[in-house]
Amino acid sequence: MADKQPEAPAVVASVQEPPPRNVLLYTVFGFLCMGIALWLVFAWSGYKEKYSQLTEGWHLGGTKMLEITLIREDRKNLACASDRIFAGTHCGYYANGQPFGGSGEVDANTLQPFNTIKNELFLGAGLWASPALAGNLPADRFTVVCNYRVVAVGKSLALRWSPSGAFNPVDQSVAIGTLADCVIPQ
């Protein structure tokens, strides 16, 4: 039996159009129009009021609203070590690593290191005493917004970010203060 050639599908011819002569002009013109349109849209939407607060300062004695990034284990994870007492607040450990007051328990005056969502480091006391953090906390990372009152600035401190970790000295000046009126933004 002779091999039967299978039927090929019908050929669909494509109609090839060459690109227009002034493609580059169109693309440059379109780019400029888009740039101007975007500029006008952002200018009209009041971007300055929304986004130009990056240089908001930290003032000794001042109160600043902060958003802090946390996990629920941070109550035990985070600690600082120093022999000094800053306006009634103190680290959970002495500079030699011994627990403050013998137990190392975190109370309303115990300072802990935190980072804001903008990755700014500071020491704060009173976070876990807030009613908002008294119940069951989320299993995932979450943030808390608090009023932070700056009471001092410290440098001869050491920080620890996990219970089994070592205390490492900070290499910058760090704001020290109290956290109050904390809420988890919903």
Partner: protein, 442 residues
């Protein structure tokens, strides 16, 4: 002409165009009409996803800090200490001059180039495949893909580099005189001046010029302007920042950076992924992440899964099939029944672009090791999406229902993934429903 006369003419032209579009719409078969609607939703939605909430978060994410700080240095005349070519940072500085030193200022120019990339995908698809439909599909695919969306929303260099790459390719495909080839060379020089890998565009551009034969084959030599443009831009940048900017000093700076890049294999970074992991989405990076309360906003560089794996499949299937067809001429008629010569040629040209951008990472693997990142695949993927669009536009004539379902599915996937591309506030578990594997998560 009076003002009233001009407005009348514009009104008449608009009305005529509108009537033409209505006629075209009603003349289309049903599935094609669906595809057209999907395309416009993808392009419109992609533009909105790029623009909305651009400036959030107001602080640096991922690699923005080194690029933005050095862009700012250009704005105030201080030296650039970053390890990439200067042009994209200088352009980001223009955004900060317009809007100030804030997150909108440093993300404005990447956004503008991100939107331009969608337009250029249209022009490239149309030029390569000689078909407007291919252009619209290419624009839709790029517009509705998270890889491009996330880079349009960040103060990074890659999106700007890709835009110049596509611009250079459009210029090469549409060149009809040596002046067109020079324009392509200048645009490719701009791409290389954002990131060195942009210079690889010269390879597919040269091949396109030689294959398309719209200009003399010797015109391809004008692409030699690429390094000249690059060096001039670098000299200008050094001069702007008060550094020695003569050719010898510029060359020394470039050689120093080249050695530094070759030596990066010693560095460790948990976001790295090897080249063979890119086509299979081994480790896409979440390039923007901010948390507020119980909700987070993600901008993942994960692509549209359907488009991504279609292109990966084509990278393997197309060269193999073409080789088989060339060797076994009996099978040629099936192939030409499915894809005609110009479509196959266009697709293979786009594959050359894909390979040109993969080659540096294959070649430098001995020195850089695995110190490579998934965003190196962004230019490769741009070429592949244009290739996919050209093939889809061709197949639509023969299998309109199949293509309508395919593009509809791509749109559904984009809608599902839009929250993790466009930084919508969501819980971690909602994000994990989309970012399935640990390597896809931050």
């Amino acid at each position: 002409m009076t003002f009233a006369g001009a407005t009348d003419r514009i009104a008449i032209a608009t009305r005529t165009k509108y009537t033409q579009l209505r006629q075209v719409w009603w003349a289309m078969p049903g599935p094609q009409r669906w595809v057209t609607a999907f395309i416009f939703v993808m392009i419109g939605g992609g533009a909105i996803l790029r623009i909305q909430g651009l400036a959030w978060p107001t602080w640096f994410t991922f690699d923005e800090e080194p690029f933005v700080r050095n862009a700012y240095n250009y704005a105030v005349g201080l030296p650039d200490i970053n390890d990439h070519a200067p042009l994209a940072k200088q352009l980001i500085a223009v955004g900060m001059l317009l809007f100030g030193y804030n997150s909108l200022g440093w993300r404005f120019i990447p956004l503008l180039f991100g939107l331009q990339t969608v337009c250029l995908a249209y022009w490239l698809g149309r030029s390569v495949f000689g078909n407007q439909r291919a252009g619209w599909m290419a624009a839709a695919f790029v517009a509705a893909d998270g890889f491009f969306i996330s880079y349009s929303r960040s103060g990074l260099l890659d999106g700007i580099m890709i835009s110049f790459m596509l611009w250079g390719m459009v210029a090469a495909f549409s060149a009809r005189t040596w002046r067109g080839v020079i324009a392509a060379g200048v645009l490719i020089g701009f791409s290389a001046s954002c990131k060195w890998s942009g210079a690889m565009t010269a390879i597919p551009a040269a091949v396109a010029i030689l294959v398309m034969r719209r200009v003399s084959i010797f015109s391809v030599l004008w692409l030699g302007i690429v390094p000249i443009v690059h060096i001039l831009i670098w000299m200008g940048a050094l001069r702007l920042t008060g550094k020695p900017s003569d050719p010898v000093s510029t060359w020394k700076v470039m050689v120093g950076l080249y050695k530094h890049h070759l030596d990066l294999g010693h560095y460790k970074n948990e976001l790295t992924s090897p080249w063979y992991g890119w086509p299979i989405l081994m480790h896409p990076i979440v390039i923007k992440l901010s948390t507020s309360g119980l909700h987070s906003r993600y901008s993942s560089s994960l692509g549209n899964l359907l488009l991504w794996f279609s292109t990966t499949g084509l990278v393997i299937a197309l060269p193999v099939t073409t080789a088989v067809v060339v060797l076994r001429t009996r099978l040629r008629r099936y192939w030409t029944g499915l894809l005609d010569g110009p479509t196959t040629r266009g697709a293979l040209l786009m594959l050359v672009g894909w390979f040109a951008y993969m080659a540096p990472w294959l070649a430098t693997r001995s020195t850089r090791g695995n110190y490579t990142f998934s965003h190196y695949y962004l230019p490769c993927y741009a070429f592949l999406l244009v290739m996919l669009a050209g093939m889809a536009a061709h197949l639509e004539r023969k299998y309109p229902r199949f293509i309508a379902v395919y593009i509809g599915l791509a749109l559904v996937i984009s809608l599902y993934y839009a929250p993790v591309w466009g930084e919508f506030a969501m819980t971690a578990s909602a994000a994990h429903h989309r970012l399935w594997f640990p390597t896809w998560r931050p």
